[in-house]
């Protein structure tokens, strides 16, 4: 296995008495898709929030490229190369799809004092945005306002924006939710292609997609890791079957 890019030790998040994430150790390596499964309320989204910096951990550490980023802000983590998508579409509705991606691409070089140069004249940023739109299957929708896109297309835009930031780590919170069959299979192909150059954490309820893509699967229940290993091991595990999978993969 490769050196992990992003890993945690003893990561916990408490909301009052509730341990939403409890003592989780997880390792994301380049060239791997690491799927996280679990019933609703298992702590999957909270885990992503802790990794992306949207929430601060109660205890434990998050390490990225051998640096401790447990206390780093969300925007700093994003600039370091940790990109995330949201379960609930989180875009700029009034802007065009292209501008959504262009802003995302611009984030890698914020240039807070560039007041006089036209943003659209910055060729590398615009090219990155175009590529991200194309990769996510939205090449023809660039000029449309994001609010005019269909629900499935907005989900694709959500992914395109993450890609436009050119991250090393991708934290994807249910990327396939709300997509049609055709878009979903396109997205599965895209994730397969992204695997080589990224470390990917995938939270997803579509079991077919998870077992088709994942190199490692971690199953969470009540904020804790129940079992972690290659798909065959998870499929064979009786504990997992009892806790979560039920008859679905029998």
């Amino acid at each position: 296995m490769n050196e992990p890019l992003l890993w945690t030790t003893g990561l916990s998040k408490r909301f009052g008495g509730l341990r939403a994430v409890n003592d989780v150790a997880i390792r994301l390596a380049q060239g791997q898709i690491h799927a996280v499964l679990g019933p609703n309320g298992a702590g999957k989204s909270t885990l992503i929030n802790l990794l992306s910096g949207d929430m601060a951990a109660t205890s434990g550490t998050v390490l990225y490229k051998a640096c401790d980023i447990t206390r780093a802000s969300a925007d700093r983590r994003a600039r370091l190369g940790i990109g995330r998508s949201y379960q609930k579409t989180n875009i700029f509705p009034a802007f065009s799809a292209m501008e959504n991606c262009r802003l995302a691409a611009q984030s890698r070089a914020p240039r807070i004092l560039h007041w006089f140069s036209d943003a659209l004249a910055d060729a590398p940023t615009c090219a990155a945005a175009e590529r991200a739109l194309h990769d996510a299957g939205l090449a023809d929708c660039g000029t449309q306002p994001a609010s005019a896109l269909s629900h499935g297309e907005q989900r694709q835009l959500e992914i395109a924006m993450v890609l436009a930031t050119r991250p090393d780590v991708l934290l994807l919170d249910e990327p396939l939710a709300g997509m049609g069959a055709e878009e979903a299979s396109r997205m599965v192909d895209l994730l397969r292609r992204l695997r080589d150059h990224h470390a990917i954490l995938l939270v997803e309820h579509d079991m077919d997609a998870v077992f088709a893509l994942a190199d490692v699967i971690t199953v969470m229940v009540n904020g804790q890791v129940l079992e972690s290993g290659p798909p065959e091991q998870i499929r064979a595990s009786t504990a997992v079957r009892e806790a979560y999978l039920g008859s679905e993969v029998a």
Partner: protein, 321 residues
């Protein structure tokens, strides 16, 4: 459609350029005042309309710019434009920077209240200290002028010089903001207004963008304040009061938030309504208030959106900008 807009802008510029020759000095001075308020309104639009920061204390920076000239003006000669104007903008910008470092951490209603609190603080500094010369304020013995060697191309004791200088400043501020809003910085500000949370998760240091926007808006408000002292020849604490902060917000709402024309149109309509209503009745604020309520109900995009609305009813497509 773009051509129609260009013609309208061209016509407006010609109108402004020729206006002083058409009317009495009273109207030239009135339009000068309106153009100063338009600069003030545009500076606030950068915050409210483009960054999503509703400041209810913007008069503070207008006032600091105004007082800078009042305090720097020598007793027995005209102040030099070359030094006092940049210093006024720097002073207002610096004050906005210091305040901005604190206030942009607050959100929504809290931001409104904190900006108001800081503005009130500045108000009382000028109102209640010897430094600000109290509630009477400061009168200029001489209006500023700009000299190059022995030649004095601009002497603001001359109403026309003041008018054209303010007109040029208004056009320059408009162009500056237009370029700014198309830059990477300006587009990031608009992203923050639209979805601050996502901007942060994309990697933008949102805090510093807001501080920069607050500082810039303060500096430009300082320019407007400087011009006000230059125009009226005196400055008193009332120009920092919360009424002034409220008035400039009303101008923006009248004209239309998030459109640079909105600030200019709003300033004109606001002052025009004020003049007309106050000539009718001493309860003119009642009329002004009702007009604003009606406008907000029937024209939520402000007066600057009239063109786009007209277009969309005629041609059935809503195209902004």
């Amino acid at each position: 459609m773009i051509n129609a807009k260009r013609i309208a802008v061209g016509a407006a510029l010609i109108f402004f350029a020729l206006f002083p020759f058409a009317g009495a000095t009273f109207y030239t001075e009135l339009v000068t005042k309106v153009m100063i308020l338009a600069i003030f309104a545009m500076s606030l639009d950068l915050l409210v309309g483009y960054t999503g920061l509703v400041s209810f204390g913007h008069a503070a920076y207008f006032g600091i710019g105004a007082y800078t000239l009042g305090l720097l003006a020598p007793k027995y000669e005209a102040a030099s434009l070359w030094t006092t104007l940049p210093l006024a903008m720097i002073a207002a910008g610096l004050a906005a920077l210091l305040v901005g470092l604190f206030v942009v951490r607050a959100k929504g209603i809290y931001f409104i209240m904190v900006t108001l609190a800081f503005a009130q603080m500045f108000y009382f500094v000028f109102h209640d200290t010897k430094f600000g010369r109290g509630s009477d304020g400061i009168s200029l013995n001489f209006k500023p002028s700009a000299a190059i060697g022995g030649w004095v191309p601009l002497d603001f004791a001359n109403v026309l010089h003041g008018y054209y200088f303010v007109l040029a400043a208004m056009v320059l501020v408009f162009l500056f903001l237009r370029i700014l809003l198309r830059s990477t910085f300006g587009r990031a500000l608009q992203g923050i207004r639209s979805n601050e949370h996502r901007m942060r998760s994309l990697g933008f240091p949102v805090y510093w963008y807001k501080v920069a926007s607050f500082t810039l808006a303060g500096g430009l408000a300082g320019l407007a304040g400087y011009l006000a002292t230059m125009q009226f020849g005196f400055v008193n604490p009332e120009i920092l009061s919360w009424h002034q902060s409220g008035n400039v917000l009303l101008m923006l709402i009248l004209g239309g938030l998030g459109s640079l024309y909105g600030g200019i149109v709003g300033a004109f309509v606001f002052v025009a309504l004020q003049e007309i209503y106050s000539s009718l009745t001493s309860h003119w604020q009642l009329l002004l208030g009702s007009t604003i309520v009606l406008l907000v109900i029937f024209l939520p995009g402000g007066l600057a959106s009239v063109g786009a609305r007209f277009k969309s009813t005629l041609f059935g497509s809503a195209t902004d900008e």
